[in-house]
Structure formats: C-alpha cells, structure tokens
Amino acid sequence: MHDYTIRAFVQGNAEFVGFDKYAEVFGSTTFPTALLNTAVFTLVSILFQYAAGLALAVFFRSGFRLSGVLRAMFLVPWLLPLIVSASTWAWMLSSENGIVNSVLGAFGVPQINWLTSPDTALLSVIVANIWLGIPFNLVILYSGLQNIPGELAEAASLDGAGAWKQFWSITFPLLRPVSAITLLLGLIYTLKVVDVIWVMTTGGPGNSTTTLAIWSYREAFGTGQPDFSPAAAVGNVLILIALVFGFLHLQLQHRQEGS
C-alpha cells in the first residue's frame, strides 16, 4: 500500500507506507459504524430479498392465469436506471411531500422523517434495496424450482403431505444448491451497493447510513479532494469479507458433495 495522495498519483511517486493506511482506517471513528451498518444492511437486505423472492417464486410456480405476465412485470424494477429508481424512492419517502407519509398521515400517523432521522434512514435504504433485489432472487429461485421434477411433488402429495410440509421436506432441500448460490451472490452484490444509498442519503444523516462501500466511495469521489488510499484500503476490506464467504460456500459445497 502506497500513500496515494493525488499529487503522488499524478507524479507517480507514491511513498510506500506499508499498512499505515489500514491502521488509519481501522482506527477511524467511522470504521465501527460503517462495519455495523454494512452488516445490518447486507444481512437484512439479503434475508428479506431471499424470503420474498422464494415466496414469490413458489407462488408464481403454482401456475394461474396471467402468472407469466405478472412474473415478467416483476422484473421492471431492474429495467429502470438506478439513479431513477433511487431518486423515486427518495421522493416517495420524503418527509414533507412524500407519498408514504401522505398515506400514513391519512391514518393519523405523525410525520416520519424516513431519510432524515438517524433512527430510520438505514431502514429506509434497506427497504429500497430489498425492492431492487427481489427480481434477481425471484428469477434464480424460480428457475431453480423449475428444475425440480414435478413427480417428486406429486408423489409427496399422494402420500398425503400438505403443501406446507411438502415444501419444507421436498422442495426446500432440493433447492439448497440454488439457494446457496443466490445468497452468496446476493451477499457479494449487496456488499458493493453504493448508488442506492448515495442517491438517497449520501450516507447520512451524519454517518447513519454509511456502509464500507459508501465510505470508500466518499473518500474517493464524495469530496473535492479525492483520496484513494483509504478508499482502496476500505475496498480491500470489502473484498476480503466477500472472499471469506466465498470460501465458506465452497467448503459447504464440498462437504455436501462428499456426503
């Protein structure tokens, strides 16, 4: 790791500073907050994305009138440029003139400062991110369900297993490899999320929605003074986290194949 001030960047004479930059990053007051926010943001996001995606996949798989069309409509969020969907969410959640508060207000709920209160800002960006992630989970899990032979389910229902039991004892276990890869990819992608949070809150108010990725982005581009060293150090921490989970996934896969 070199001391990459912009002057050094242009002149190409960065001074080698070893792990000082990492020490600086870990010692920063922002670090614990960012780490915690990253953990909450990532875990809550992928958990709900996955659950919603799975429920919807099962629901659409059961086949009914218009199911194909409706399922395709679910992909629309993905077609929207991120700046548009994130701005739209920020718009809907706006404290004074947002539609969400307007609806809640009709039920007598007082104004909630979704994006501008440290208590709810993280929740708000998570909700938007879950919304963005549902199509991805739905597509993979649906195609996973398609690959589960219909006879298995039929056999189970002949045995008199109810739909609920049938799902947990047959479908879900068979879906495990697909689930694993979905969750892993979800994790990798969610760790990297910058745009949604940045457009909605720029990591604020204060640092209440600052994740590691946002922090890295802010150091590099969010101020008038690009500083790439801490940005790169934080970025590397992120890659490290993703790698750990990647290894974990392979380990599990290996054990499963062995059994």
């Binding site: 194909g68 069309v69 409509m73 597509v139």
Partner: protein, 276 residues
Amino acid sequence: MTGRRPLRKTWWKTALGVFFTALMLFPAYWMANVSLTRTSDLRADPPHWFPWNPTLEGYAAVLEQQLPSLGTSLLVGLGCVALTIVVAAPAGYALALLNLRGGRALNFVLLVAQMIPAVVMAMGFYAIYVRLGLLNTVGGLIVADSTIAVPFGVLLYTAFMSGIPRELLQAARIDGAGAWRTFRSIVLPVSRNSTLTVALFAFLWAWSDFIFASTLNRNGDLIPITLGIYKYIGNNTTQWNSIMATAVVASVPAAILLVVAQRYVAAGVTAGAVKD
C-alpha cells in the same frame, strides 16, 4: 402444482398476483406520475396521486432525442445475451459434466470475478480498448458488458447442469455421440430454463450498465439509454420530467420484450422439448 385445475379455484391467486405486482410496481407508477408532472408541482405537499395538470414536455424531449439511445441499448442487450450464452453454456457444460481437472479452482475464480468492483474491470478494458481502437464501439461495449454476465452464467449453468441425470448422457455416449454432440443435442435442450435465466440476466445487466458505458462509450455516437439520461442533469438544474420520461420510454419496450420472450420460451417448453 399441476395445471388443469378449474380456473375458479385459482382466480384468487391471480388477484393476489395482481396485488403483489401492483405493490411492486408502485415506484414505477410514481416515476410515470413524475414524468407527467410540471416542475412547479413536483414537490407539492400533499403530493399529487395523479398528474391532474399534466405536461408532455418530458416525453416530447425524449422522443426527439433519445430514440437512438434506446436502439443502442437494445442492440447491446441482445448482443450481450448472444455472446454470454455462446461462451457460458459450453463452459458450464465442461465444468459440470466433463470432470475437468481444476474445475473447483476455476469455480472459485469465477466467484472471485464477481467480487471485483466493476470500475476495476472498466479500467482494464479502457487500457486495452485504447490500443485496439475499440473505444466507442458497440461491439466493444457488448464484450465488456458480457464480462458481468459470463462468470455468473457459467456458475449457474454449472449448478444446473450437474443436476442432469448421468444416464441421459451415458445413453448418448452409447449411441456414439461425442462430447460436442451430446452437448448440442441433449444438454442444451434440457438446460433451456437455465438458458432463459442466463439470457435474462445478461440482458438486464447489459441494459442497466452504467459504468462500462460511461468509461468505454462516452464519446461514441451510439450511447445507451443509461448515459442518455444524463443529458437532463445539467450543472444546476435537473429536468425531472425528462429523466422520468426517459425511464418510462426505455422500460416499456424492454418489459414487452421480457413478456414476449418468456411466453415464447414457455411455449417451447410445454411443446415437449423437455419431459419432466
């Protein structure tokens, strides 16, 4: 989970499905609403549920300026789908069924490839394209965009193809089919669903890509719609109705394409290409 139930029994599912879809698409509705709203009403309190006093300014601007971008996006999306499948399907087959040495390591490399921030990839492509003169070409952008989808496609194909019953393959081998013919006549048709999924992802990623486009295609005559939108974000003003109108105009043909493609493939599946 079978068909042929009386429709009466599933109407509530359709109703529920419509409800979920409406909920999911509410932000998209809101976007359409904003695209028709005058600047002076944008931040009205309480917000207008419906653009009572609509303006078509945004759409006029978009139809005049953005149609070529829309075409570029479609071209890049479809090109990326084709390229991704041509590369990922054989690769997945090789990894899943041909018992390659080092397959596990390769799998891990593909995973790691997903972790590399897109900017790093974009930078690499930039350096290469400068030398090859591929900057600002649609072909170059297609190749770059498919690097997002290819590793994912290989992973997905591998995961699904390892589930293909070995007996099927052995039967083919007994008939004297080589690896390539087995792939073409057995594996590929059976993997139709996976192909659909991979194609979908390749399309959606290419469609929504911003980083590659802005790095590699910024000054081209053919810019995709994700860049086209930035025309409306000036230094001090943001033309929200044009931005939102662009998003609406851009998502409609893509949505239709998705619906039609799914129908077409679903029809192919039920026509008996695959027997469960």
